[in-house]
C-alpha cells in the first residue's frame, strides 16, 4: 500500500499535532503516526499549563476539532517506524500499525469495558492506578475508539468483549499491518519521557512512596487522575501539611543529565499553586540552584515569592531520607557558598527533567544527527526535529517550533 506524496509527522503529541495541522491547513497532505493508541502525548496528561493555569484540554479540543474537519490529515495510531529510505523530497517510510482489536465501527458505548474483567496498569495515569484491559485511554482520547490490550487476546475476556459489542467493532483477528508512506519530508516530533528519578540513588525515590515526581503530581491534581484530583501523600493518603520541591532532580548534573530541561522551574511554581489551592496552610519549600522563569513567566515567580508560606531555598538537595512517621528529611547544600540546610517535610516532589524519546534508539533508518544527550541537531534537509525531540522546551515553544517546522517540510514538497 502506498500513499500519495505527503509530509510525514512522527509523533502525535502537541508538537506533532501542531506540525500536522499547520501543514494540512495550508492545503498539504499529511500522515501522522503515533505509537500509543491516542494522540495528545504528554500534554494530554498535564493538568494545567503555566503561566495561565488553564487546562490543556481546552486547546486540545480546538486541535481535535481542526483535525476532525480537515480531510488532509491521515492518522495512524499504535504505529511505529520500521525504516526510512530515500532522501529529501522523496522518502519511503515503512510503518507497522499494531492491532487495536477495535475497528472504526466502535461507537464508544463502552460495553466491552463493562464486561472485561482483566485490569492493566493505567499508562495514561503513569501506572499510578489500574484500568480495564478494554478501555478508552482517557476521556478526550482521539481517535474516538476503544482499545483492547494485547495481553487479553486469546483469553475469555477478549471473547466476552467481542460478544458484548453490538456494532461488530471488536475484531480479535486483527494483525499488525505494514504501511509504506511516501513523503517529501519527515518531521520528527517524538517528544520526551520523564527522567527516571530512581537513577539518583541518594534521593531514594524508589524506596519511598512519599517521594513523587512532577509528572506524577500533574496526575494527582487531575480530576481524571488516580485520586480524582486530591493531592494526598501516597503512603497513607494523608493531606500533606508540608511539601518540598527538589529542583534539578538529575538535571544540570554531569552524572545524570547535564542539561537544564528549561521547564521544571515554571512547572514547580505551577504545582505550588496546585498545593496552595487545596491546602491554604501547607508549608512549601523549594530547593533550587537557579530559578529559571524567562520572559513573562517571571510574573509567576514574583507572585509565588509573595506567598509567606513558600520558601525558596538556594541549594542542591544532596540527600533525602525517610523518617519513621513517613516524613522525609532533605539535606541541601549550596555548591558556591557551602551553605548547608536540613528540612523535614511530609511529601517531596522531584522536579525531574525531560529525556528525549529517541535518546537510546535513534531514528530507524538514520537520517538525523543527535547530540550527546539524544536531541536532534537541527541541520540538514528533509528530516526535521520539532519540539522536545530537538531541545527541552515548554509547550509554547513547541507550538511555535512545530509551526515553523511545518513550513520547512512544505518547502521540501514544493521543491519536489
Amino acid at each position: 500500500m502506498s500513499e500519495p506524496k505527503s509530509i510525514l509527522v512522527i509523533g502525535g503529541g502537541i508538537s506533532g499535532m501542531t506540525a500536522a495541522l499547520e501543514a494540512a491547513e495550508a492545503g498539504k497532505s499529511v500522515a501522522l503516526i503515533e505509537k500509543s493508541p491516542y494522540i495528545g502525548g504528554r500534554v494530554a496528561r498535564i493538568n494545567q499549563y503555566f503561566p495561565k493555569f488553564c487546562p490543556p484540554v481546552c486547546g486540545m479540543e480546538i486541535n481535535l476539532k481542526r483535525i476532525k474537519s480537515n480531510p488532509n490529515i491521515t492518522i495512524y495510531t499504535l504505529a511505529e517506524v520500521d525504516s526510512i529510505s530515500g532522501s529529501a523530497g522523496n522518502y519511503d517510510v515503512s510503518v507497522t500499525v499494531n492491532p487495536r482489536y477495535v475497528n472504526s465501527k466502535c461507537t464508544l458505548c463502552g460495553k466491552c469495558s463493562e464486561v472485561c474483567t482483566a485490569e492493566i496498569d493505567d499508562d495514561f495515569n503513569l501506572g499510578m492506578c489500574k484500568t480495564k484491559a478494554a478501555y478508552l485511554p482517557h476521556k478526550m482520547a482521539y481517535p474516538r475508539l476503544y482499545v483492547l490490550d494485547p495481553s487479553i487476546i486469546g483469553t475469555d475476556d477478549a471473547q466476552k468483549c467481542k460478544e458484548a459489542c453490538k456494532y461488530d467493532a471488536v475484531d480479535l483477528d486483527m494483525k499488525p499491518e505494514k504501511v509504506t508512506i511516501n513523503a517529501a519530508a519527515i518531521i520528527v516530533a517524538t517528544g520526551w519521557q520523564p527522567f527516571d528519578a530512581s537513577k539518583v540513588d541518594y534521593y531514594n525515590f524508589d524506596k519511598n512512596d512519599n517521594i513523587i515526581t512532577n509528572v506524577m503530581m500533574e496526575r494527582l491534581n487531575a480530576e481524571d487522575g488516580p485520586t480524582q484530583g486530591k493531592i494526598l501523600r501516597p503512603s497513607d493518603g494523608k493531606e500533606p501539611a508540608s511539601v518540598a520541591f527538589v529542583q534539578c532532580a538529575g538535571s544540570r548534573d554531569e552524572n545524570y543529565q547535564g542539561y537544564c530541561s528549561g521547564v521544571c522551574c515554571a512547572a514547580t511554581i505551577k504545582q505550588i499553586h496546585y498545593v496552595r489551592e487545596q491546602y491554604p496552610d501547607a508549608e512549601i519549600t523549594v530547593f533550587y540552584i537557579d530559578i529559571r522563569t524567562p520572559g513573562r513567566l517571571e510574573d509567576l515567580y514574583l507572585k509565588a515569592q509573595e506567598d509567606e508560606k513558600v520558601t525558596f531555598q538556594k541549594g542542591k538537595a544532596v540527600n533525602i531520607d525517610g523518617t519513621s512517621n513517613g516524613n522525609l528529611l532533605i539535606e541541601a547544600e549550596d555548591t558556591l557558598t557551602g551553605v548547608k540546610s536540613k528540612k523535614e517535610v511530609e511529601m517531596v516532589v522531584l522536579a525531574t527533567g525531560m529525556v528525549p524519546n529517541l535518546a537510546e534508539t535513534g531514528l530507524p533508518g538514520g537520517g538525523a544527527t543527535f547530540d550527546k544527550y539524544g536531541f536532534i541537531v537541527p541541520d540538514g534537509e528533509g528530516i526535521y526535529g520539532a519540539g522536545v525531540a530537538k531541545r527541552p522546551v515548554d509547550v509554547a515553544v513547541c507550538t511555535k517550533d512545530s509551526t515553523g517546522t511545518a513550513l520547512k517540510a512544505i518547502q521540501c514538497l514544493v521543491r519536489g
Binding site: F53, C58, T337, K400
Partner: protein, 754 residues
C-alpha cells in the same frame, strides 16, 4: 436550492432503550423520517446516502451522538450542497437521564424539534469571494528587515510565495547587524559564532521572490487579508502595493538605561550597557569611556532594570547568556583580565546549560549571587559596586574598571488600541457639542496614553486602531501557549522579540512559524475560508444594513477589528478579516447580522419552537446556552461518565458565548422558560475564551438585561452566567442543580401561561 429535509434518529448506544424514537419522529414535520439501530455504521450511512440519492434529501437532522463524535461519518458532506444538523441524543439525553421516563422523552422530542427548526432556518453555504475589482493577492508583507524579518521572508519565499520586506532604516540587518558575535547555538556550545547577518542579507537580496523596500514606512493599510491595499512611504515617495498577509518582525529596543541611575548609569562614566559593549566589541577594541584604557576588570550587573516591578517586570531571557558571551569577549581580547557577574539567577535554559558550564571553567570569571546596593565612582575612575550576597547575608564590595549593565529587551511594538484612544480623545475635544464628562474622559486619555503618541507602525485603517492590540508589556495579545501566532488581527502575525523576548535562534524559528501562519492565511482566505480557530469554515456574516441604527456596537465589540464604520457610523464589513465567531451578531440590537447557518432568528426560532408545560404540570424549563468549544464538550464528558442532571434543561450550543443576542433572553422568558443559564469560558487577564472577549462581552450584556428584569419585577436570578474551565466538567451537574433550586425558589415564570 430547494431544501428537502430528512430527520433521523439513531437507536444505538442506549438511545433506543432510553426513549421512543418513533414517537419523537412523529412530532416532527418533515418529508423523510427514519430510525436506524446504528446510524454511524456502514449500513446507517448507506441509508442516508440512499435517501439523498433517491429521495433528494439534502438537509439532514440527525439525532444520535454528540456533534463531536463520528465526524468522519456525518461531517463529510459539502456544506455548500448539504445541510447537516447533529442533535445530541446520546451524551446529552440517553446517557444522563432516566431511561423510559416521560421527562426524558420530552427532552428528546424538544431537541429534535429544535434541530429541525435549525435545519429549516439554515441555508446552503456560499464561500465569500471579494469583488472583481479586488483581485486576490497572496504576497506576504514582512515588516522589519532584521534577523526575524529576513528569515521570515526567506522561509516564505522558499515555499514559493512572493514577499515584500518593508524596513524603516536605510540598511537591512536590524540589531544583529550591530552585533559582534552570537553565543554558541550548537554543541559543544564552547565557541562564539559569527552573526552571519551579511550572508542572510545577501541571500534575501538575491532571492527573486523577495522585493525589499528600505527607508520605508507605512502611510496606510486598507482592507483585509488577501486584498490589502498598502501605501508605503519609501524615501519620501509614495509607493502603492497589494498584499495578502503581514508578518510583524519589528524587533526590540534596549531598555532605556537613563532610568538606571541607581545602577550608576549617567553617574559613573565607566558604567555602560550590554548594547554599548556589543558595539564596542564589534569595532574590535574594548576600552572604558573615561580614559580609553583597556578595562582589566569588568563587572556585569544582571537584570539591570529587568525582573524589577519599577522597570521591566519580566525577564528578557537572553541577558544571562549575553553577559557570558561578553565575558568571553573581555577574556579573549584583554590579557590578565578578570570578569565578575553579579546575578539573581543564571538563566541558561535547556542545552545552553552547556555554554554556562563551559564558561564556568574559565578561572578569570567570577559569579556571585547578590542584589546591588550601590554603584559609585572611585577617584581613579573605577566603579565600586556594593551588593548584598543574598545567600550568606553578607555585604560585599567589588571594584572594577568598568561595569556593564545587562539591560533587557523592550518589544518594538505599537499598541493599536492605545493609539486609537488618543485619536478618539482628540476628536472628542475638537467637537463643539461634546458633553463635560466626555471632555474630561478625553483629557484623561490624552494623559494616560501620551507615550503612544506617534508610535504607529502599520497605520491600519481599522476602526479599533492602527496596530495590533497588546496584552501586557507591549507583547501582542494572543493565546500565547497553544496558538502563539493568533493575534487579534486576522492575517497579521507577530514574530521574534516583538512578540516576546527571545534569542537569535528562537527568533529565526519564530520567523518560520509566522511565515507558515501567513501562508495558511492567504491559502484559506483565497478560497473564502476562515482561519483559526474555525479554519476552513465557509460561512461568513452578512449585514442587512437597511435596518442598521448606527449604534456601533458591532464595530466596538468584534475582538478582531473586522468592522469599520463610515462617517455616519454605518458598519463597513471586511469579511476576510472575520473569524466567524458571531460576536457581532450577539452585539446587534437590531438583529441584522446573520450567517447562512447561524443567526439570531435561527436560535430565537429554536427557542420559540418548544412547547412549554403549564405551570401546574410542575415541569420547569431552563434554557442553557453553552460555548461549543469548552462547556459543550465538558457536558459530553458528563454524559460519558453517566452523571445525571435535571431533565428540565434544554441546551443550545453557541459558536462563542459572545454571540449571545440579548433578544434570546427576552424570547426565552416570553416563551415561558423559567430560567436561562449561560456557561462560557473564563475571562480576565488569563482569559480562556478562544475569541478573546466573547464570554466577557456576554456577561456585560447580561448585566444590562438583569437591570431591566429588576425594573419589570422579574427576578434577575432567573438569569445566571457561569464561567467554566473545560476540565471542570464534574461541576456542571452541580451548577445545573443549584440553578434548578434557585428557579424552584423564585417560582415559575409569570409569563408562562400567556
Amino acid at each position: 436550492m430547494e431544501k428537502k429535509i430528512g430527520c433521523y434518529i439513531c437507536t444505538g448506544c442506549e438511545i433506543g432503550e432510553a426513549i421512543n424514537a418513533e414517537a419523537a419522529l412523529e412530532e416532527l414535520s418533515a418529508p423523510v423520517k427514519k430510525t436506524h439501530e446504528a446510524l454511524c455504521s456502514p449500513e446507517g450511512l448507506a441509508m442516508l446516502k440512499q435517501d439523498m440519492e433517491s429521495e433528494g434529501v439534502n438537509a439532514l437532522c440527525i439525532g444520535a451522538c454528540s456533534m463531536r463524535e463520528k465526524t468522519e461519518v456525518f461531517n463529510t458532506f459539502d456544506p455548500k450542497k448539504v445541510i447537516v444538523e447533529r442533535v445530541n441524543l446520546r451524551e446529552h439525553v440517553a446517557w444522563c437521564q432516566k431511561p423510559g421516563d416521560e421527562d426524558t422523552q420530552m427532552m428528546v422530542n424538544d431537541y429534535m424539534i429544535m434541530g429541525l427548526t435549525k435545519v429549516e432556518k439554515s441555508d446552503f453555504l456560499e464561500a465569500y469571494s471579494p469583488s472583481e475589482e479586488q483581485p486576490i493577492d497572496k504576497t506576504i508583507i514582512v515588516v522589519g528587515g532584521g534577523v526575524t524579518g529576513l528569515t521570515a521572508a526567506l522561509e516564505a519565499a522558499k515555499a514559493g510565495y512572493s514577499v515584500v520586506i518593508v524596513e524603516k532604516e536605510a540598511e537591512l540587518g536590524g540589531f544583529l547587524g550591530k552585533m559582534n558575535k552570537q553565543f554558541p547555538k550548537r554543541p559543544p556550545y564552547a565557541e562564539l559564532q559569527d552573526t552571519n547577518i551579511g550572508d542572510l542579507i545577501a541571500e534575501a537580496e538575491a532571492n527573486s521572490n523577495i522585493k525589499i523596500y528600505k527607508n520605508a514606512i507605512f502611510n496606510k493599510v486598507e482592507n483585509g487579508p488577501c486584498i490589502y491595499e498598502i501605501s508605503l512611504n519609501v524615501n519620501g515617495k509614495e509607493v502603492n502595493i497589494r498584499g495578502g498577509a503581514f508578518i510583524m518582525a519589528t524587533g526590540w529596543k534596549p531598555y532605556d538605561p537613563n532610568n538606571l541611575g541607581h545602577l550608576g548609569y549617567g553617574n559613573c562614566s565607566n558604567v555602560i550597557t550590554n548594547v554599548m559593549m556589543e558595539e564596542m566589541a564589534a569595532k574590535g577594541k574594548l576600552e572604558r569611556p573615561s580614559d580609553g584604557q583597556e578595562p582589566k576588570s569588568v563587572l556585569f550587573i544582571q537584570c539591570a532594570g529587568s525582573r524589577d516591578p519599577e522597570h521591566l517586570p519580566y525577564c528578557s531571557a537572553v541577558c544571562c547568556r549575553v553577559s557570558l558571551k561578553q565575558a568571553k569577549y573581555v577574556r579573549e581580547m584583554i590579557g590578565d583580565s578578570k570578569v565578575y557577574i553579579l546575578y539573581k539567577d543564571i538563566r541558561s535554559p535547556g542545552l545552553y546549560e552547556d555554554f554556562y558550564k563551559n564558561m564556568q571553567q574559565d578561572e578569570g570569571l567570577f559569579l556571585t549571587k547578590g542584589e546591588v546596593a550601590s554603584v559609585t565612582e572611585d577617584a581613579d575612575g573605577s566603579v565600586v559596586v556594593e551588593a548584598e550576597d543574598t545567600l550568606v547575608g553578607k555585604n560585599i564590595k567589588l571594584k572594577a574598571d568598568m561595569v556593564v549593565l545587562a539591560t533587557g529587551m523592550v518589544p518594538n511594538s505599537a499598541d493599536g488600541e492605545a493609539i486609537r484612544k488618543l485619536t478618539d480623545a482628540k476628536a472628542t475635544l475638537k467637537k463643539e457639542d461634546a458633553a463635560k464628562p466626555q471632555i474630561e474622559a478625553a483629557e484623561q486619555d490624552l494623559i494616560t496614553y501620551k507615550d503612544h503618541e506617534g508610535s504607529q507602525i502599520l497605520n491600519l485603517n481599522y476602526r479599533q486602531g492602527p496596530d495590533l492590540p497588546m496584552l501586557k508589556y507591549g507583547m501582542p495579545d494572543s493565546h500565547f501557549i497553544c496558538f502563539p501566532y493568533e493575534t487579534r488581527r486576522t492575517g497579521i502575525y507577530a514574530a521574534g522579540p516583538m512578540r516576546t523576548p527571545m534569542d537569535i535562534q528562537d527568533s529565526m524559528d519564530d520567523a518560520a512559524g509566522a511565515a507558515m501562519k501567513a501562508i495558511q492565511c492567504v491559502e484559506l482566505t483565497s478560497q473564502g475560508k476562515a482561519v483559526h480557530p474555525r479554519a476552513g469554515d465557509e460561512s461568513y456574516p452578512s449585514f442587512f444594513l437597511q435596518r442598521c441604527t448606527q449604534c456601533k456596537r458591532c464595530t466596538e465589540e468584534c475582538p478582531f477589528g473586522t468592522i469599520n464604520e463610515d462617517a455616519k457610523g454605518t458598519p463597513e464589513i471586511f469579511p476576510t478579516r472575520c473569524r466567524r465567531c458571531g460576536i457581532c451578531m450577539g452585539a446587534c440590537p437590531e438583529r441584522i447580522i446573520s450567517f447562512k447557518n447561524y443567526s439570531v432568528d435561527m436560535i430565537a426560532s429554536e427557542i420559540k419552537s418548544l412547547e412549554i408545560p403549564d405551570e401546574d404540570e410542575e415541569k420547569p424549563r431552563v434554557l442553557v446556552f453553552m460555548c461549543e468549544n469548552d462547556a459543550y464538550p465538558a457536558l459530553d464528558i458528563v454524559g460519558k461518565m453517566r452523571l445525571q442532571y435535571s431533565p428540565f434543561v434544554r441546551v443550545i450550543p453557541l459558536r462563542c458565548l459572545g454571540s449571545t443576542n440579548i433578544v434570546w433572553i427576552a424570547d426565552s422568558l416570553s416563551s415561558g422558560f423559567d430560567g436561562i443559564l449561560l456557561i462560557g469560558c473564563k475571562y480576565g487577564d488569563d482569559y480562556q475564551c478562544h475569541y478573546v472577549k466573547g464570554s466577557e462581552l456576554c456577561n456585560t450584556r447580561l448585566g444590562n438585561v438583569k437591570e431591566t428584569l429588576d425594573r419589570l419585577a422579574l427576578e434577575s436570578e432567573r438569569i445566571r452566567f457561569e464561567q467554566l474551565e473545560f476540565s471542570e466538567y464534574e461541576k456542571i451537574p452541580k451548577i445545573i442543580e443549584e440553578f434548578m433550586e434557585t428557579i424552584d425558589r423564585v417560582g415559575p415564570n409569570p409569563y408562562k401561561d400567556f
